[in-house]
C-alpha cells in the first residue's frame, strides 16, 4: 500500500533477486516492529503492575526515613557514596559538621547552613526520581567570590516505586 504513494525517479528493474530482497527487507522491518512491540508491551505491563500494587504501598509513603550524616574536615565521615530512597518517602537528613558549611541538595534545591557542632535537618518528600548530588560549600558563605569549588559529598538516589 505504501508503494502507491511513492514517487521515485529511479525505477528498479523488477528482477527475481530484487523482489526477493524486498521480501527480506519487509521481514526485517517486521521483526524490528515486533521487537519494538515486545518492549512496549513490557513497559505497559510493568506500569499496570505498578498501578495495581500502588495501593499496597501507600502505607509506606507516610513513613519517615531519617539519615544521620556527619561532615568532618569538608568530607563525609562515612564512606557512603549514595543514599537510596524510594519515590514518595518522607526523608529527614540530619547533618552535623565540625566547620561552618552550607550543604546543598541539587534538584530539590534544598540548602542548609550548618554551625559547627549544631545538627541541622533537611526534610523533604521524595516526589521526584533521580540521582541528586548533595554538595558542600565551604565557609558557610555560599556565593563568596573565589569559592568556585564545591565538593560533592554524596548522592541521593530516589528510585521509582
Amino acid at each position: 500500500m505504501a508503494h502507491s504513494l511513492c514517487t521515485s525517479t529511479h525505477q528498479p528493474r523488477q528482477t527475481g533477486a530484487t523482489s526477493d530482497a524486498r521480501s527480506l527487507q519487509h521481514r526485517a522491518w517486521r521483526c524490528l516492529g515486533f521487537c519494538v512491540a515486545v518492549i512496549a508491551a513490557q513497559y505497559v505491563l510493568s506500569h499496570a503492575f505498578q498501578l495495581a500494587t500502588a495501593s499496597a504501598q501507600e502505607t509506606r509513603q507516610a513513613a519517615l526515613h531519617s539519615y544521620e550524616l556527619r561532615i568532618e574536615k569538608g568530607k563525609l565521615a562515612s564512606s557512603a557514596k549514595s543514599l537510596r530512597a524510594v519515590e514518595g518517602e518522607q526523608l529527614a537528613l540530619r547533618w552535623v559538621s565540625d566547620e561552618p558549611a552550607t550543604v546543598h541538595l541539587h534538584g530539590y534545591d534544598v540548602e542548609l547552613k550548618l554551625v559547627p557542632g549544631v545538627p541541622g535537618t533537611m526534610t523533604l518528600q521524595a516526589y521526584a526520581t533521580g540521582r541528586f548530588p548533595i554538595t558542600l560549600h565551604g565557609g558557610g558563605h555560599a556565593g563568596q567570590p573565589g569559592t568556585r569549588k564545591e565538593r560533592t559529598l554524596l548522592y541521593l538516589e530516589v528510585h521509582p516505586r
Binding site: S8, I39, L124
Partner: protein, 535 residues
C-alpha cells in the same frame, strides 16, 4: 504518568529554598554545558536485557540477509505534492524561520555581552549548549537538515551579500580564492575537535561572556571564509556545524532533492554522488518544479554508493568518540581516575595548579578516546579487508580486494545510528528538564529582574521526568540504533562485495565492532552519574 503529590506546605518551603538556592549558588567548574543531569543509572537487569536483545537481533538480521540483498534506492514521498507541504516550505515561511533564528541569535549574543554573568540567570549558556547544540543535534537526526536553513551566520552573510550586489547578478561575483582540492573538508574536522574540546574540557564554557566571545570569533571565521572562498564552498568544506548536522541528518526521515540535472551540472560539489540530496547550493538555483522535499525511511540517507572522503570519515569517528567521551566523563571510573591523578593527598586543599592539570587530564582523555576509536575502527576494517581478500585468480598471483581505508570509508556511516541513539538516551531527560528553565528565562533573559511574560518565577518541576520511562526509552533507542546499524552495514556490504558469501563474511568483524560500541553505550547509561569531586 503518575500523579504529582506535593503537599502545599512543602511547595512554599521548596519555593523559598529555590530562591535562596539560586541566589546563593555559585557556578560550578563543570566543564560541560549548562545544567545537571539527574538520571538514575539503568538497572542491571534492563542492561542485560538490552544487551541480549542487541545480540539476538544482530544474528537474526545476519540470517535474514545471508542470501544477499540488493537495495538500490529507497521509497520516497514528495511532501511538496500536498498543499500543507507547500505551505510549510513556502519562500515567505522560509524567510520567517530564518528571521526567527536570527532574532534568537541576536538575543543570545546580547545576553552574553550585557546580561548578568550567572549561567543560571543568563539565557546565553542554556540556549547555546542545551537548546542549540543538544537540541539541534536531536532534531537534525529526528526531523531533517534544517540547520542549513536557519544558520544565523549564513543568513547574515546572505542578506548582506544580496544588499551589496544588487546591481550585479550572482553568477558574476567570483570569490577571490579557490579552495585547494587537497584541503577538502579538513578545516571542518580541525574546528570540530576544537569545538568538542570547548564543550567538554574548557572550564569557561558556562560563562556567558566567554561563550559569546567564542561564538563571535567563530562567526568572524565563517564570514572571512565565505568571503574568501565563496559561501557554498565554505559551508561545504569549512563550516563545522553544517558538516556535523548534515551528517546527523542523514539519519533523518526527510531530505531535499533536486531532480533537474542542468542545475547540478554547474554545482561544483566534488562530494556529489550522482543524486542531488541535501545540496542547498543546487536547491537555491533550482526551479520549483525541479525541487522535492521527500519523506524517506529512517537511516536511508546513510547509505552511499561510493566510499566517503577521508575527512568525512575522520569527522564521523571524531563525532562518535566525543559523544562517547561526553558520557564517559560522568562515570565513577573516570571520576576515580581524575581524582587519583589530581589529588594525591585526599584531604589536602586543591593545589593552585589543579585547574590546569584538570584541563590537561580531560584533554588527554578526549584525544585518547578519539585515538582509541580510530585505532579500533581501522583495526576492524583491516580485519574485514583480510577476510574478504579474494584468492588469487591470475598467474601473477595478485589478490583482489579492498584496502582497510577503503573499507573504512565505505562503512563508516553505518555506525552513526548507534551514536545518535546513545545521544538520544543520554540527553532525553536533560532536554525535558532544561526546557523548563527556559520558561523563567524568557521573561528575564538578561537576569536584570524583568518579567516580560509573567513567567519569571515559574517553578521548575523536576518530578516530570519518570525514571522508568527514561530507562526503557534509552535502552530501546540504543538497541534500535544498533539494529539499524547492522541492517545498514549489511546493505552496504552487498553493494561493496559482489559475492553474497563474501558480503556476509565481511560482516562478522563489523558485527563485533558494533556490538562492542553498543555495549559500551549501554554500560555508560548503566553507570551512576558521578562528577569528579572537588572540581
Amino acid at each position: 504518568m503518575r500523579c504529582a503529590t506535593n503537599p502545599p506546605a512543602y511547595r512554599t518551603l521548596l519555593k523559598g529554598a529555590l530562591v535562596a538556592g539560586v541566589a546563593g549558588y555559585v557556578a560550578t567548574a563543570q566543564a560541560h554545558g549548562f545544567g545537571q543531569r539527574y538520571d538514575l543509572p539503568v538497572p542491571l537487569w534492563l542492561y542485560l536485557w538490552g544487551a541480549a536483545a542487541a545480540v539476538a537481533m544482530s544474528f537474526l538480521v545476519m540470517a535474514l540477509f545471508a542470501r544477499g540483498v540488493r537495495v538500490q534506492t529507497y521509497p520516497r514521498v514528495n511532501l511538496l505534492q500536498w498543499g500543507i507541504g507547500r505551505a510549510i516550505a513556502h519562500p515567505v515561511m522560509l524567510v520567517i524561520y530564518r528571521a526567527l533564528a536570527l532574532g534568537v541569535f541576536i538575543l543570545v549574543i546580547t545576553a552574553g555581552l550585557i546580561g548578568v554573568q550567572n549561567p543560571f540567570k543568563n539565557i546565553a549558556p542554556i540556549m547555546i549548549w542545551a537548546i542549540w547544540w543538544v537540541g539541534v543535534a536531536y532534531l537534525s537526526s529526528l526531523l531533517g537538515n534544517f540547520w542549513m536553513l536557519i544558520n544565523p551566520a549564513n543568513t547574515i552573510f546572505a542578506w548582506i551579500d544580496r544588499i551589496c550586489t544588487r546591481a550585479q547578478s550572482d553568477a558574476l561575483r567570483t570569490p577571490p580564492l579557490r579552495w585547494p582540492a587537497w584541503l577538502s573538508s579538513w578545516p571542518a574536522v580541525a574546528l570540530f575537535l576544537l569545538f568538542a574540546w570547548s564543550e567538554l574540557v574548557w572550564e569557561q564554557s558556562d560563562s556567558p561572556k566567554h561563550l559569546v566571545a567564542v561564538v563571535l570569533v567563530y562567526c568572524a571565521i565563517t564570514w572571512i571564509g565565505m568571503y574568501a572562498f565563496g559561501r557554498d564552498t565554505w559551508l561545504r568544506h569549512g563550516e563545522v556545524f553544517t558538516a556535523v548536522f548534515s551528517l546527523l541528518s542523514r539519519f533523518a526521515p526527510t531530505e531535499v532533492r533536486v531532480v533537474d540535472p542542468k542545475v547540478c551540472a554547474t554545482c561544483g560539489n566534488a562530494d556529489c554522488q550522482g543524486e542531488c540530496v541535501d545540496c542547498y547550493a543546487c536547491l537555491r538555483r533550482a526551479e520549483a518544479s525541479g525541487r522535492e522535499w521527500n519523506l524517506r525511511p529512517y537511516a536511508a540517507g546513510l547509505l552511499t554508493h561510493r566510499p566517503v572522503h577521508l575527512p568525512v570519515m575522520t569527522l564521523v569517528i571524531t563525532l562518535l568518540a566525543t559523544v562517547t567521551f561526553d558520557g564517559l566523563i560522568e562515570t565513577p571510573l573516570w571520576a576515580g581516575l581524575v581524582e587519583g591523578l589530581q589529588f594525591p593527598a585526599a584531604d589536602a586543599p586543591a593545589p593552585p595548579g589543579a585547574g590546569a592539570s584538570r584541563t590537561m587530564v580531560y584533554t588527554l582523555g578526549l584525544s585518547g578516546t578519539v585515538a582509541l576509536f580510530f585505532c579500533a575502527y581501522l583495526l576492524f576494517c583491516w580485519l574485514i579487508a583480510c577476510i574478504t581478500r579474494a584468492p588469487a585468480t591470475s598467474v601473477a598471483g595478485a589478490t583482489q580486494g579492498y584496502s582497510a581505508t577503503t573499507i573504512a570509508r565505505y562503512f563508516v556511516l553505518t555506525l552513526v545510528p548507534i551514536a545518535i541513539a546513545y545521544h538520544l538516551a543520554h540527553y532525553l531527560s536533560f532536554l525535558v528538564m532544561t526546557w523548563q528553565y527556559l520558561i523563567p528565562m524568557v521573561s528575564d533573559p538578561f537576569g536584570f529582574g524583568w518579567n516580560l511574560f509573567g513567567t519569571a518565577h515559574h517553578f521548575v518541576r523536576i518530578g516530570i521526568v519518570d525514571a522508568r520511562a527514561v530507562w526503557y526509552t534509552s535502552v530501546a533507542a540504543i538497541v534500535a540504533g544498533h539494529i539499524a546499524a547492522v541492517v545498514l552495514s549489511h546493505i552496504m556490504a552487498s553493494r561493496v562485495f559482489d559475492d553474497p558469501r563474501m558480503a556476509t563474511r565481511s560482516q562478522y568483524p563489523m558485527l563485533i565492532l558494533m556490538l562492542g560500541y553498543t555495549m559500551l553505550s549501554l554500560w555508560i547509561i548503566a553507570q551512576p552519574i558521578t562528577t569528579s569531586g572537588g572540581a
